[in-house]
Amino acid sequence: MSVATDSNEKFDQYAHPERLVSTQWLAENLGTPGLVVVESDEDVLLYETGHIEGAVKVDWHTDLNDEVTRDYVDGEGFARLMSAKGISRDSTIVIYGDKSNWWAAYALWVFSLFGHEDVRLLDGGRDKWIAEGRTLTTDVPQPEATEYPVVERDDAPIRAYLTDVLGHFGNPLIDVRSADEYTGARTHMPAYPEEGALRGGHIPSAVSVPWARAAAEDGTFRTRDELDAIYRGEAGLSEGDDVVAYCRIGERSSHTWFVLQHLLGFENVRNYDGSWTEWGNVVRVPIVKGSEPGVAPVPAWQR
């Protein structure tokens, strides 16, 4: 059972306004049956310092990843997690987090791999809630376990693997990392050697649009017009494009995936979560250094 959507002038401009709720809407709807609020942060302790009343914590690193294989949890693992968090298949989920919803968007993307239908982001995330002086609590809810079905992940529509990207040349690629990562000046974020790569640079033909450009000063998403100017204007995307976004490990690019898919209405957007840690370490894949996108190689079958 779905909770009514938040309709306001700003959201109505987006392709899928039902994917966002405002802080005011959330404050008014806390406790509504069928609504589960999830906090997902970069900082693993932030939830414990205080969170929105009734919100449960989902930690991307420890809850959504397989412990052994470099992959997300499977259908059974996801069902276990959802059950433990008191989420049913028909729950309306609102996710919020720190840093302009950077990790909240990641969690939303992973939830989407399992086809959870009604999952939304809190526009402005944790920071906006706090900036408005709204209440936080340190009480950790103990939700009753739910019966969540085991649904196998369906990666293909919104997730790209290395081989998909190799076959994607000729279609738009968006690199959402910092300029230093894009040009190859840096092969890893300074103290993240495990997230590093042996080669620096970007995937040939990828356009650089750092993820945070989609966020305004207060962490909310930029308006429809502003986003169109960035992604259709500057980055040159057009209606019907098949787009792949990537970053270093796929977290920042899921924020961009959300913007392209749900706010701007592109229907074929995939997040390449292998991202640069994979690409920059694979033998013989093409790489471009410097600030120019470079030319996409011609796929072998077209030569």
Partner: protein, 148 residues
């Protein structure tokens, strides 16, 4: 866990973490984050005296004072925002575990001491790197000062 090679005040903290279950270790780290002392005024008025550790996922600034005594005792000062409790927690552990020790003792602390807190699974190795970077930065500043 072999903590005998560590300075006593740091070894005690490591033992405290090791004695707890994983969820409780996170709680203990949270306590360290709450206990991180505020910067003395002479630094709050002069942010240029602090050095940013860019490796941390959140802005963390640190500096140190080395006493002009035979032991070259080191005082540590950290600044991290309230919304970065994990980073603050790491800073709190280093502050309490290393603050006031002779420079040579700090330099002798193994670089992998953050791993010994038993937080790697709960926090992930990637997040633990920020703490290793802080320790590395402290040691580098001591070396640059020529104190040890």
């Amino acid at each position: 866990m072999e903590t005998s090679a560590l300075p006593q005040q740091l070894a005690e903290i490591v033992d405290d973490f090791q004695a707890l279950s994983e969820p409780d270790r996170l709680q203990l780290l949270l306590e360290f984050s709450r206990g991180l002392p505020p910067l003395p005024e002479r630094f709050t008025d002069h942010p240029e005296l602090l050095e940013q550790v860019v490796e941390c996922q959140s802005p963390l600034f640190l500096t140190l004072d080395i006493a002009d005594d035979a032991e070259k005792s080191v005082s540590l000062f950290f600044s991290a925002p309230q919304e970065a409790p994990t980073t603050r927690g790491f800073a709190g552990v280093l502050q309490e575990g290393l603050g006031g020790l002779p420079a040579a003792q700090i330099l002798a602390v193994p670089d992998d001491v953050p791993e010994q807190l038993g937080l790697t699974r709960a926090i992930t190795p990637l997040r633990m790197r920020g703490m290793a970077a802080m320790l590395g930065r402290i040691k580098r500043k001591i070396r640059e000062s020529g104190a040890a």
